[in-house]
């Protein structure tokens, strides 16, 4: 079998960015995004100080999280080990960007679809080395078949000690580095600051999705980069303020001890914004309310009047519909939303989730039909037997989807499913109280609970993204 990989020899890399530009030229990569880029960090204290350079890109992982999470098989691993993509299949859901431990993917602003280094697969077809390999002045990038013992890359690997980025990700990456440091490979060993040596970041480069052009020039409030930059400005605004100067000195002291990132590609910012937080809440309300109501009904704690059934079914359907709208809205190719169900990658929880949502939606629709056609109310209880597990999964599956996003800390949160279940039950209970009670106090408590859960959900979505911003 063929298995293409790269060796990046950091003894040789001079940080010239030729690979970055040759790649842009080969693939016509737009401004703001990169398939490969060079990162610089500075370490040590004068005069024992150095600057390190390293080329970062798709690792063509053997257990690639992006191909697992991609709902439509737009990302796939070829027989020769290259992780390639088909932008006609991509719906722009950005889950691959969340799943990649290496921040290697971006949304192409021209197409609204995911893209990354594909090992110049079109060149490989005609037996030419990737564009970055041939341009490199110092031959620091080596390509070739890792499975072929006689290939130069295999020889290189035998003769040199190499490391990979984030081996703990379990993705089994196929980009090997000769002589590099953890400070360089770990994106969180150095701080992403507002400005770098040669570049500014203050405009905040988002993920270059559908809103990219309209966002140009305006402060992107979603972007942590902007916040950092603004904070910095605010702190330095009045230089005569002693407290600020003291703060500056303290920061300088702190910085002196740590490696400093002096060049990197623009940050992609927060990929999943309020739409995703809101979708978690709307579906938790839809599923939670139904679930609590049904459980309470079977437990004999709640008497389901027709009025309550109607409210429940219409309300849950409404919130579930809202969930769907939010999901589609978050796509960068919303017109392709059906691909999730019609081009399914069964490994992806996005697909499973879509079918779960569909199943739960079906239960609600049938329940509505029973009410509308005024059939025997017992049918509603039979439907609830399917509805209870589907509602539970509707509330909880996102935890498993997030778990597949191996580039973020969600995947480390073992309790995420339990938390989502609790969120759903609390929301469901609170909504039910709102529906069944007329006491102001209960309303206030329920309302406060809903707000608290919303905030928690938003926090759940945002925090790992901000923490792991490369």
């Amino acid at each position: 079998m063929t298995n293409f990989g790269f060796v990046i020899d950091n003894r040789k890399c001079i940080g010239c960015h030729a690979c970055t530009v040759a790649c842009k030229s080969e693939h016509d990569v737009p401004i703001g995004v990169n398939r490969t880029h060079v990162k610089y960090i500075e370490k040590g204290q004068y005069p024992d100080v150095t600057r390190e350079f390293s080329v970062h890109r798709c690792n063509h992982c053997e257990d690639s999280p992006c191909t697992t999470i991609c709902p439509t098989n737009a990302l796939f691993t070829r027989d020769d080990g290259i992780v390639d993509f088909d932008d006609d299949r991509c719906i722009g859901c950005k889950s691959c960007m969340q799943a990649c431990p290496y921040d290697a993917l971006y949304i192409d602003p021209n197409k609204g679809t995911a893209a990354k280094c594909n090992y110049c697969a079109h060149r490989i077809e005609h037996s030419y080395e990737p564009a970055c390999v041939i341009v490199c002045p110092v031959e620091a990038i080596v390509s070739g078949d890792l499975d072929d013992e006689n290939s130069s890359i295999s020889g290189y690997l035998r003769e040199h000690e190499t490391t990979v980025r984030k081996p703990e990700s379990g993705a089994r990456p196929n980009v090997y580095y000769v002589e590099t440091s953890e400070d360089m490979l770990d994106p969180h060993a150095t701080e992403r600051t507002g400005e770098y040596l040669w570049t500014d970041q203050a405009a905040g480069v988002g993920h270059y999705a559908k809103y990219a052009d309209s966002r140009m020039g305006a402060a992107d409030t979603n972007s942590m980069i902007v916040q950092l930059a603004l904070e910095k400005k605010a702190r330095a605004a009045n230089p005569r303020d002693r407290a600020i100067i003291r703060d500056v000195m303290e920061r300088l002291d702190e910085q002196a001890e740590r490696p400093k990132r002096s060049y990197d590609q623009p940050a992609k910012g927060v990929l999943w914004g309020w739409e995703v937080s809101a979708y978690i809440v709307t579906k938790a309300i839809a599923a939670g309310t139904y679930l609590v109501a049904m459980l309470a009904m079977f437990a004999g704690l709640l008497e389901m009047t027709d009025e309550l059934w109607w409210t429940l079914v219409i309300g849950c359907t409404g919130f579930l519909g809202l969930t769907g709208i939010l999901l589609v809205k978050d796509l960068d190719r919303p017109e392709r939303f059906l691909y999730v169900m019609l081009r399914p990658n069964w490994n992806s929880w996005l697909v499973k989730g879509a079918y779960i949502l569909g199943g739960f939606g079906g239960v609600l629709a049938l329940s509505g039909a029973v009410l509308f056609l005024d059939l025997d109310r017992a049918f509603l209880e039979y439907l609830a037997i399917a509805g209870i597990p589907l509602a539970t999964l509707t509330g909880v599956y996102t935890a498993w989807l997030f778990g597949q996003a191996r580039g973020r800390a969600w995947s480390k949160d073992r309790l995420l499913a339990a938390k989502m279940l609790v969120e759903m039950l609390v929301l469901g209970g609170a909504v039910l109280l709102l529906l069944t009670s007329s006491k102001i106090l209960i309303w206030a408590v329920a309302g406060a609970t809903i707000i608290a859960v919303c905030r928690h959900a938003h926090h759940t979505v945002m925090k790992p993204q901000l923490e792991t911003l490369h």
């Binding site: 063929t2 040759a22 401004i31 004068y46 150095t50 005609h126 030419y128 400005e195 203050a202 300088l252």
Partner: protein, 928 residues
């Protein structure tokens, strides 16, 4: 990859489009880098943008050379046969210098060609010069207008009124030949802001004024430069430095700033700027004391006997005694002295010195701009650096350092017009007797001083308003129509100087023009052909092209043809100019550009034979391969050629220096301390500004139209050490006011451990601007407002940073950066070194927090102060002005485009029988 049943079903029902693709099973052929040249006209590639759909694209691959820096690396243009346009550039594997590899600037050439704001047609100004109004004219009109002005000037007599001022030449002697045909001493260059310091130091040794290190075979590579990221010749040299290092060579880098090159070094010596000669002399002393010098080389190749005769005539004329006296002579250069001057630990001086001393004949050294162009007396840097090569006998050896001219090819031109009959004192003022070369950076000051004017002034790929120090004085000169009768900017892209032109004539980027290149990138000697690739493509397709502007975008032309046509029109039939533009192949007819290169290539040693073996002629070979290796290796040429100095030896002892009034510099010493020596920085708030370093992805002022390069680098904060930042109370991103001798600018702070305390740094490439009425380069230009505050005071404010705009290229609307940096050069005072004539780039500055109303990007300059400051430095040269035998400059030293010999003498003097040296008339172009 198989589809699911659901997908197949949905596709069949046409709910979703059919996306079934034939996916590759993987390629089992061994991978290669380039197609073979036989496939170049019929190359098929799969379209990367259509992928994974297989769309075959057909290309004709045409070799040319890069025009973004001086290295002229090989490029292979991919001409898309469907569109007839260039779609990308890769390297040319047949180029012996670059060997198929490039830096970022190579592939970015496509940005420059596709720049939506490029100048497409000849333009003539409307309104006053500098106001910013332009009208499109035809090439015919432009040629007729300009020819008439030149004709009128030539007929008035005088040889110094028509001037060609070149930034990046990129050719070999072409324009010089044209100027000679016109009979003018009108060549001006940018050498004095670039390599003049280093050239002078090298020239004093052996007339060859540049080094060519053989890094591949070195044991020790000693760089007073940053050749792993910039410089002559970055990409070819970086390749070979790394080859040497992988083979065990040690890399020593001397730089007060942690350059990318320094970051790769085994030994980084952050010396105080200008102290380098002290370090090299300390090492020289170590080599001498330890007996590690190459006795044979020293004894036979160096003019030590002259020194003994002149200085120690009472001593026996023996080599052993010479060495003893030399050790005494250099007694002061102890490691402790060097350490104190350089402000580095003495252990480091000794440790690195031992590495150098142990290199033997495999010592590669290099200095290009850096310290040699930075400091008063910077020429001492190259002189003392080369001394190390002389001592170790590593001059011209395998793994050593050769003179660059050994591996530089000098073309034979079809016609050599007579030398100009006169001397241009605006270029070579008499007080700068040893300058290398034209005193180009004080041109506005000389003009202001009443020392001359120009009728017709061509600036060619040259942007002094921005690149040079004291740009406001350039603006003053260019706006003065009495001083500059007509200003013509020949340029591929808009620049700050072109804003002040009468004519802006668009000339091709790489791939849109003809040139011949040959540079000392390695131990071999090669020649390369820069050709307009669409013209060559047309030829391959059997289409006739008369002028290159017919195939280039818009009406973009090239200088080669422009000069022929212009020269033809200048001559009204009575001036004898046309006779120098006659075809060597067709009697009585005007030469074509093809004939020019045919003649030249037919005379490249070995090329006609190589061409014949491929069944073509010399021009055909170069059109096909783009480059030719003339000699594999050019070591030890002195064994046949000797050394072209008055003594015929390596001149350790320079009689020239004594004769021309600098006896204290008769041998390599550290007699001139820098203007930024700590002794000269007296105030607590005074620092040394290091403003002359370059970045690997930019080239002076010609890459602002390359979006991929600008995206990588677009701002130039002040590098400052945390200690200094603490002292000034600033942190990263804060503003700092930097006061020079003549003005100030406000920049942001970048706090870094990678700079020597007491020194602050600012990159040379960034801070481009345009006024609201100007156009071009919006990827990288701030919009500025210039205000004349009166009494010589000029103010520049940043109105807005870089901003996106809508164009045919969607990327222009995606510009995510706003910070376009600050134009620092315009606040620099001119500081002409009295010996080398070099501008001394380093600036003594005062640092403070900006006052109220002083904002990021603000600039102020006092032109009166600037003129007074120039006078001060100019006085130093005048005080020492000496003309032995009436010679304006040493007859044996180079002068590009030299006039007739009698003009090398001051009025009242002339060549006489005792002076047997012939004036140096170096027909070839100097690559600056």
């Amino acid at each position: 990859m198989g589809n699911t049943i659901i997908e197949n079903f949905a596709q069949k029902l046409r709910i979703i489009p059919n996306l079934d693709r034939q996916h590759a099973g993987g390629n089992l052929q061994p991978l290669r880098k380039f197609p073979s040249p036989e496939e170049w006209h019929h190359h098929t590639e799969l379209d990367a943008n259509a992928w994974p759909i297989r769309v075959e694209k057909n290309y004709s691959l045409v070799p040319t050379t890069c025009f973004n820096c001086e290295s002229a690396c090989g490029l292979l243009a991919y001409v898309d046969k469907d569109s007839g346009e260039v779609s990308k550039f890769e390297g040319n594997p047949h180029h012996p210098g670059s060997r198929g590899r490039n830096c970022a600037k190579g592939p970015a050439t496509i940005n420059q060609i596709q720049d939506t704001e490029r100048i497409m047609h000849p333009l003539r100004r409307t309104g006053k010069r500098g106001e910013g109004g332009w009208e499109q004219i035809s090439w015919d009109q432009a040629l007729d207008d300009i020819a008439a002005k030149i004709r009128a000037s030539l007929k008035r007599g005088g040889v110094d009124k028509v001037v060609y001022h070149v930034g990046r030449p990129g050719h070999e002697g072409y324009a010089n030949r044209v100027l000679k045909a016109w009979g003018v001493d009108g060549h001006n260059s940018h050498t004095n802001i670039c390599s003049a310091g280093a050239r002078t130091g090298y020239a004093l040794w052996h007339k060859h004024d540049r080094p060519s290190p053989d890094h591949t075979n070195a044991k020790v590579i000693l760089l007073t430069s940053s050749h792993l990221e910039t410089g002559h010749y970055f990409n070819p040299h970086a390749q070979r430095i790394l080859e040497g290092m992988m083979d065990g060579a040690k890399l020593i880098v001397i730089d007060p700033r942690l350059s990318n090159t320094a970051a790769m070094a085994d030994h980084w010596l952050p010396t105080w700027p200008g102290s380098e000669p002290a370090l090299f002399l300390a090492w020289a002393k170590m080599i001498l004391e330890r007996g590690l010098f190459d006795r044979e080389f020293m004894e036979t190749q160096v003019n030590w006997e002259m020194w003994m005769d002149a200085v120690h005539s009472d001593e026996p004329r023996e080599f052993e005694r010479f060495i003893e006296l030399l050790v005494e002579e250099y007694a002061e250069y102890t490691p402790e002295f060097a350490a104190a001057e350089c402000r580095i630990p003495v252990e480091q001086v000794i440790e690195a010195g031992e590495v150098v001393a142990g290199a033997g004949s495999q010592l590669c050294t290099h200095v290009w701009r850096s310290a040699a162009i930075g400091n008063l007396g910077g020429w001492q840097v190259s002189r003392t650096l080369h001394f190390l090569n002389v001592l170790t006998g590593s001059v011209g050896t395998v793994g050593g350092t050769s003179p660059n001219s050994w591996s530089k090819f000098k073309p034979s031109l079809f016609d050599v017009p007579p030398d100009p009959d006169g001397w241009n004192e605006l270029h070579f003022p008499p007080e700068y007797t040893l300058s290398h070369f034209e005193m180009s950076h004080i041109l506005p000051h000389l003009v202001k001083d009443g020392r001359g004017t120009m009728d017709v002034y061509f600036t060619r790929v040259f942007n002094p308003v921005w690149t040079y120090p004291d740009g406001f004085s350039w603006i003053e000169m260019l706006e003065n129509e009495e001083a500059v009768g007509c200003h013509i900017a020949l340029t591929p892209t808009w620049n700050e100087t072109a804003f002040f032109a009468d004519y802006v004539l668009p000339m091709g980027h790489s791939a849109e023009r003809h040139d011949v290149n040959s540079y000392a990138t390695s131990s071999g000697k090669w020649v390369a052909f820069r050709q307009p690739v669409l013209r060559e493509y047309a030829r391959r397709e059997g289409r006739e092209v008369e002028f290159t502007h017919e195939v280039n975008p818009g009406e973009v032309w090239e200088e080669d043809e422009f000069w022929i046509e212009l020269s033809w029109r200048i001559d009204d039939g009575s001036m004898g100019i046309r006779e120098h533009f006659m075809s060597p192949y067709r009697e009585g007819e005007k030469i074509t550009v093809d004939e020019y290169y045919q003649y030249l290539f037919e005379r490249v040693p070995g090329l006609p034979e190589a061409a014949e073996a491929e069944g073509t002629d010399a021009l055909g070979y170069m059109r096909k391969h783009g480059a030719f290796l003339i000699e594999e290796a050019t070591y030890e040429k002195h064994k046949e050629e000797g050394w072209p100095t008055p003594s015929g030896k390596q001149e350790f002892y320079s009689e020239t220096m004594i004769e021309f009034g600098y006896p204290e510099h008769s041998i390599p010493h550290y007699r001139q301390k820098s203007h930024v020596h700590p002794e000269n920085l007296t105030g607590e708030d005074e620092y040394c500004l290091l403003p002359n370093f370059r970045l690997p992805q930019h080239i002076h002022s010609r890459s602002a139209n390359a979006k991929w390069l600008v995206e990588i680098a677009h701002r130039n904060p002040i590098w400052i050490h945390p200690k200094d930042a603490r002292k000034l109370g600033v942190a990263e991103g804060d503003l700092l006011k930097i006061e020079t001798e003549i003005g100030w600018f406000v920049d942001k702070v970048w706090v870094t451990e990678g700079i020597k305390p007491g020194v602050v740094g600012c990159s040379h490439h960034i801070g481009r601007w345009r006024r609201s009425q100007d156009r071009g380069n919006r990827f990288m230009t701030n919009e500025v407002a210039i205000e004349n505050l009166g009494e010589g005071k000029m103010r520049m404010r940043t109105v807005s940073g870089v901003e996106p705009w809508k164009s045919d290229d969607p990327d222009t609307n995606r510009i995510w950066w706003r910070d376009g940096g600050v134009h620092q050069n315009i606040t620099h005072a001119v500081q002409p070194d009295p010996i080398s004539g070099s501008h001394c780039w380093l600036q003594k500055v005062r640092l403070s927090r900006p006052g109220p109303g002083e904002e990021y990007g603000d600039i102020e300059v006092d032109r009166e102060k600037s003129f007074a400051y120039y006078k001060r430095w100019n006085e130093w040269a005048k005080e020492r002005e000496t003309h032995p035998r009436g010679e304006r400059r040493p007859l044996w030293m180079k002068r590009p485009l030299a006039p007739r010999r009698e003009h090398f003498f001051m009025p009242g003097f002339g060549p006489n029988a005792t002076s047997s040296d012939s004036a140096e008339n170096d027909g070839s172009q100097e690559d600056e």
